[in-house]
Amino acid sequence: MAKLKKSPWIIHYDGSSCNGCDIEVLACLTPLYDVERFGVINTGNPKHADILLITGGINAQNKKVVEQIYQQMPEPKVVVAVGICAYNGGIFKECYNILGGVDKVIPVDIYVPGCAARPESIIDGVVQAVDLLEMKQDYFEKNGISYNKAMKNKNESNKENES
């Protein structure tokens, strides 16, 4: 147990935002906050990541990118939407190109409030994400569901929805 707790690896994606939240996400890695002491690594590679941190809203262009990053992450995975823009588009909500928050395209597990979100609250969001990761893994293990099977079912149901 607690296999994921000590090494949550993060991938950070910047949607339609003012870059404020992104600066704060990176601030978490600096000597002042130093999230690496909890084993957190900013991987930049979806195939190595456990937690997807998204800042900023979804627009017509990055919709596909966000979907693809989410699909490339191995199970179990958690999505954290950082800042008000990732929740519903924030200050850009009424713009012609904005589709809305991150939950318009992929399932979001945790919302971190703020404009821009403070590093403290981002770290708090990641800590909650780690607990959720553990819960997801326990669920998979307890019910004897293999990750590949779960993903296959998900993909099939996606296909049905599309058709």
């Binding site: 090494s7 002491r37 930049g44 590679n45 190595h48 179990p76």
Partner: protein, 288 residues
Amino acid sequence: MLEVILRGLVFIIAAPFVGGLLSGIDRKITARMQGRRGPSIFQSFYDVRKLLSKQVLIVNSLQHMLVWGFLIFVVFTGVLFFAGEDILLVIFSLTTAVMFMVMASYSVNSPFSAMGSQRELIQMMSYEPMLLISAVGFYMATGTFNIKGIMQANIPAIVYLPGVFAGFLYILTVKLGKSPFDLSNSHHAHQEMVKGITTEMSGSVFALIEIAHWYENVFLLGIVGLFIVSNQWWSWIIAGIVILITFFLEILIDNTSARVKWDVMLKTVWAITLVVGGINIFILDIIR
């Protein structure tokens, strides 16, 4: 024969622990150099345990097999080395292992992965001559390619091979994947090619790569020690100290330099090989 098997077994069991700890200490020292607290020194073990429990997104079954090939040949290299066999065989076996890694990375369609393997090949091209010169140097200094024989020399090899040792330390930075020569696979992604050679590997497949790197690092630091040991018992203590200093210097260089382009790496590594390694061998040939 029994002794050889025993030494091999000890390496197979102990090397992952030593390698994982070294990698954890590396991250701790790196963090302290950057004014951070840093993760626990057991962090690498936590990482691998997590990777083993994650889903594996298998791109193709060939890649899985080739990654296993990489691990098996790296372990084989280390076993040959610590069992005291022929050093030429050790170097060729290491080359085979890296070829498996390159092929594993080439077997997928990802451009990042392909670019990583191209760079890995360039790295091989740059460090391979120096590795062979080291083997030749050991032969000229001690009169044998056999590692057991080299360890029983009256005078440690470094007395005859200071230049070759310096050259070997230079290529060690390439082999350990440290800045400024971390071209094919960086410890920190977020570069122009994501994670390079390991981009397409996930879950337990990536864990195998990590474990193989632990074995490889222990073996490489073992070669550093081989330069120092002689038939005196205290030479082993000095070898241990030199290995630790080498390891610390590698971390220092990693943290104080930026990545160079491939041509700079190739030129400097070959220049060092030719000047320091070549002249050392040349002089040794004249005086012996």
